[in-house]
Point group: C2
Chain length 221, copies 2
């Protein structure tokens, strides 16, 4: 039995759920509020971070370790790439979206507007939100640049790079903060991944008292 | 021919150099000042980060992608672990030291004391330095906890987890900020990795005008 210990606002958790669904694996979700640092959760991951993947008796802690583990143990279909160079490109982009995009866009926007409400973290910092709103254009332009050259972000097939990027963007979209109309190429790519069955459960997540804009779940947005 | 594009103050670059040396691979070093964002460097890695590994015509951008690539293409001896679970544990700890330790210790201490001098980033923030000095004890205690249970951080053999951790600590040690006397177990582990031939070139790096404490290069510190 596979269990994904996650939080709806965690992009790495979302990417892992999409990966598991793309592999056709069935799994249970267990919601965790990692900032509460419950002792039983810290025993699963002393770093206090989601996601944690439980695969029978095995505990795989952390987003990238879990994605890599799933590729190793459930290799078909591969979402990591078919050669060392392709895998390096996938990993480069996963890192880009998990680290760079998260730091420059998701945390300044979603962390401030939604994260602080959920964790009781105080008033949102409007300067952070403004910075995130500026930064997102660079990333959407980069997606457009890649889309001029490739069918999916890391090459001709869908990979973890697309899942990492879409997971981040889905959070910013929940906050109503993706300027889609100014970025039609990025929008076209996102529409394709959004329409996959693996993505639907992600869009069904709701945070109590905080609602996404109407277009969030629409495939024709 | 293998080239490691690096900066002496980048822990991931240091870990990659140790890994390459442990594999017995010969490689050239090319120093890069990533914050200057030279166009030819951004063509290698649009994220503007070191390390970048050049393996003949292949460009592998980013620390974790490069470490994983080297394990795939030059698998002997393995430094990533022998089973999916072992590799998950190695990756968990690499992530711990590359992300958590770097954010909580290296950046607040080394970034403020040394990084800002090199990049012209202004006066060090003494509150950050104080925070890093508090935080390091948690990490050294965690190393001690692991050392009570294992020979190396992720198990019975040396792995990338040790290299990631030692790379970070070597930077903090360069700044003279590791409280070794209060953490004998962590010191014992660090002494073992420091004495390996793969580690010696790292200790030979110097930053112009900034000198490490005398014990930095001593194997008996």
């Amino acid at each position: 039995m596979i269990v994904c210990v996650h939080h709806s606002l965690c992009a790495a958790s979302r990417a892992l759920r999409i990966q598991l669904a793309e592999k056709g694996l069935s799994f249970d979700l267990r919601a965790e509020r990692p900032w509460e640092r419950a002792p039983e959760f810290l025993r699963l991951n002393p770093a206090g971070e989601v996601p944690v993947l439980l695969d029978n008796a095995k505990i795989i802690a952390g987003g990238i370790p879990a994605l890599e583990y799933v590729e190793e143990v459930y290799p078909e279909p591969t979402l990591l790439g078919s050669t060392p160079e392709h895998r390096a490109e996938v990993r480069r982009l996963v890192h880009w979206f998990f680290c760079k995009f998260e730091t420059e866009v998701t945390r300044p926007i979603v962390g401030e507007k939604i994260g602080k409400r959920i964790t009781g973290g105080g008033a949102p910092n409007s300067r952070s939100i403004s910075a995130g709103r500026l930064n997102i254009h660079v990333h959407l332009d980069y997606i457009a640049w890649l889309m001029e050259r490739r069918r999916w972000l890391a090459g001709e097939t869908i990979t973890l790079a697309d899942m990492a990027a879409a997971a981040q963007l889905s959070l910013v979209d929940y906050a109503g903060e993706v300027p889609w109309t100014r970025h039609p190429e990025a929008k076209g790519w996102y529409a394709r991944i959004k329409s996959r069955p693996s993505f639907r459960p992600i869009l069904g997540d709701t945070l109590s008292g905080i609602y996404p804009p109407k277009h969030y779940v629409d495939l024709d947005f």
